[in-house]
């Protein structure tokens, strides 16, 4: 069989949707939607022009705000028939431009799907609509001693539908998993208007694991209309250890030593000195400012369990050369320890007009190399960078500080970021741990994946969305784009940064 002859390879180049006729589209959608569910005046579209990655802006043709699954089906059938791109949107808090509108497309907002449909404390499940906020689920479950474990830092605002689309993490995912580990079922609609039930309320489902495939698919496979999440018993107690180090590498080693001691902390975070300084003047968490790095290590469980684990963590940190160790004495102090870490992004926004957040993940043992390389990049690009990490799972969030009003700074920040991401791949990691590829990291996908792998992604997309109408141009780069980006690796054996020592 000659595979090349079977069909054109999907994802060769971007599809041109400029023939979409706005007037005809508005007419067609108005026939299937109630008044008030459709917006097309530029004034009304403005709030939808970007998500949390505001450097990228684009007005859509139309924003649709359906209130029922039938309306979602009708919108998708209409767009499918008229070959119109559709971009699903939750709260718009995403950091990679995944919800950036398509210039010739419809933004399908799930904001009105905001009800918790069922909460079963006995079975520990919640059935929710996609527009329900992450934190709202935990709040509803709290009276039953339960909560929804994944806690992205935007959890006050971000929606569960967006969490599923991005496979969001949070500070507790080393122990409690990512979104993909805390879902039981997703109900959605394909671009062809078919309702699909993926997963169920049992612990597995027959056939291929489509639930994993849809989770983190960045709105490119189906539009989610309902989600069932697992609820977790709330630990009786949580306590946090704050440890200071006079050397970043030593702090990194301490992380490895905690894991080597057989401890899986509920959270394990690290901040470098510039990050500590930035948040301290913002939230006054009482962080030791002289430390080159601080670690936050949280233990949760029964009081006996926590006492036992904290003692073990203390011993490891002592032996690992911590210059200071504090254990939270009460809930207020624990919250204060965390306040600084959770305020890292806003603090960056306070000390700099703009910042650019990276999301690479690397094997923990390469942390020191990465930090040294970032220091060199700061000099090369003439920009500062402060570093916060989900150290327990190797997920880095370097925050590159810049001023978009200074000519050339945004471009330099982007180059800086691209360099960090490509080094993440070279060190054996990935360009995105939890924020998604979106539009932001689409070029770096070309360095992480080979041509046949990228083609496979397009084939997977086509299995759900043969016409390529759901969120086109995101997450998976066309081969043409990779060729233009000019850095496509012939094979993964090719390693950039040959001057970096490896061991």
């Amino acid at each position: 069989m000659n595979f090349d002859a079977e069909a054109p390879t999907p994802g060769e180049r971007d599809v041109d949707f400029s023939a979409v006729d706005k007037v005809r589209l508005v007419e067609a959608l108005a026939r299937v939607l109630p008044a008030g569910a459709l917006m097309y005046d530029p004034e009304d579209l403005r709030p939808y022009e970007c998500d949390g990655l505001s450097a990228y802006r684009q007005l859509p043709l139309i924003v649709a705000l359906p209130t029922s699954e039938e309306q979602v089906v009708a919108i998708l059938r209409t767009c499918s028939a008229m070959r119109v791109p559709v971009v699903a949107r939750g709260a718009g808090t995403g950091l990679s431009g995944g919800a950036l509108p398509h210039a010739h497309g419809v933004v399908l907002s799930l904001a009105r799907f905001n009800r918790i449909l069922q909460l079963d404390p006995h079975a520990r499940t919640a059935v929710v609509q996609p527009g329900v906020r992450n934190l709202a689920i935990s709040e509803a479950a709290a009276p039953h001693g339960l909560y929804y474990a994944p806690d992205p830092s935007s959890q006050i605002a971000c929606t569960i539908g967006g969490n599923v689309a991005e496979n969001s993490g949070g500070v507790h995912c080393l122990k409690y998993g990512l979104t993909v580990h805390n879902l039981l079922r997703v109900r959605g609609v394909t671009i062809e208007g078919e309702i699909v039930e993926i997963g169920n309320h049992a612990l597995d489902a027959p056939g291929y694991d489509l639930l994993a495939l849809v989770t983190g698919s960045e709105g490119m496979l189906a539009v989610i209309t309902e989600v069932t999440v697992k609820l977790t018993p709330k630990p009786q107690l949580a306590q946090c250890v704050l440890a200071a180090f006079d050397d970043v590498i030593r702090a990194g080693n301490a992380v490895a030593e905690i894991i080597a001691a057989g401890i899986i902390p509920a959270g394990l975070e690290m901040m470098d000195q510039p990050a500590t300084a930035a948040v301290e003047q913002f939230v006054h968490a009482g962080y030791p400012l002289s430390a080159k790095a601080i670690l936050l290590c949280e233990s949760d469980g029964t009081p006996e369990e926590v006492a036992e684990e904290i003692a073990r963590v203390r011993a490891v940190l002592d032996a690992g050369g911590a210059t200071e160790i504090r254990v939270s004495r009460d809930e207020a102090e624990r919250m204060r320890f965390w306040a600084g870490r959770k305020a890292a992004f806003p603090a960056a926004g306070r000390i700099s007009p703009d910042y650019y957040c990276m999301d690479g993940t690397i094997p923990r043992k390469r942390l020191g190399e990465m930090l040294e390389a970032i220091q060199a990049m700061e000099r090369k690009h003439g920009l500062r960078c402060i570093n916060v990490f989900h150290a327990g799972d190797g997920n880095l969030h370097p925050l590159i500080l810049f001023d978009a009003n200074q000519p050339g700074e945004l471009a330099r920040a982007e180059e800086f970021g691209a360099e960090i991401l490509e080094l993440s791949v070279a060190l054996g990691g990935t360009i995105t741990g939890e924020h998604g590829v979106g539009i932001e990291k689409i070029n770096q996908m070309c360095s992480q994946f080979s041509r046949p792998e990228i083609t496979t992604f397009f084939r997977v997309k086509a299995a759900f969305d043969p016409a390529g109408l759901l969120n086109p141009g995101k997450a998976i780069p066309t081969l043409n784009r990779c060729a233009e980006y000019g850095r496509e690796r012939v094979s993964k054996g090719h390693v950039p940064y040959p001057d970096i020592p490896r061991f």
């Binding site: 309320h201 049992a202 612990l203």
Partner: protein, 360 residues
Amino acid sequence: MSDLIEQWQERVRAAAAAGTALQIRGGGTKAFYGRAPAGELFDVRGHAGIVSYEPTELVVTVRAGTPLAELEALLDDSRQMLAFEPPHFGATATIGGCVAAGLSGPRRAAAGALRDFVLGVKILDGRGDVLTFGGQVMKNVAGYDVSRLIAGSLGTLGVILEVSLKVLPRPVAEATLSLAMSEAEAIARLNEWGGQPLPLSASAWSDGVLNVRLSGAEAAVRAALARLGGEVVAADAADAFWGGLREQTADFFGDAALDESGTSLWRLSVPSAAAPLKLDGHQLIEWGGALRWLRSTVAAEAIRERTAALGGHATRFRGGARDGQIFHPLPAPLMTIHRRLKHAFDPAGIFNPGRLYDGL
């Protein structure tokens, strides 16, 4: 690329060109599972060995032909484990077969399933291309999660060459309790306990007896033992009990030829709080109520109907004809997606055709 992989690429391309079905096989310990295997034997045990293992990274990368026992022994040396406790079903089980079958053992309800621990895969697809997805890190959302799609796909999408798995430390302390109670009471209690911060790591109810395993910090296990009551099972007996459950060597599973008696072993995956089955046969309940094994002569249709009514799905795990439905039938829109995915990875339909569903 090693010579062996190049040979395999050639073989796959030739098989695709000729339309020759290939039956991918590791240790053959799960050959009983799924619909009847068909096609030329494709033995993948030659691609074996640990690629990398660093206990402090909590990740092991291993070639698919590596014996599962060898991998588990290696992890045990560092007091780590595959937390999903995969069944071996024989001494020759390989990690590739383990991932392809996607089965998890007693710890699943507490620790997660096999698919939850798969971080990355390297596969040989039906075009003869070697593809890598995921990686060796805990968090990775670049591209679709093909690694987890491969887990449990029974070799129908490609030949697994290498896998990276998250590993976990072995619990510091472990203890097993035995309590007498009815089926309905066991289901109720297990769900009640599941909503509390208890270190439950496995459960099994059968014939009026509920066994629960507690794993975690010394203090947590001690406190839970005092709280739950019942009788403490001696450590050796407990290990033998959970081992027998994991490997299905326990008396319940029996070794009597199922076919001759007309009995099948059904695996019913249901919501944990689902009501008692009320189906004729002998039952064993695992996973906090979410997995119900049933040895029964009841007709497949009746079993599937009852399981679906409870919100779950039924697999004819052992026994019965293997040319019919083994796995629960899929609704049409999902089957369409399955067919398209199969075609995406294996356009000539050569890998384990029909093993999962007819036509896949």
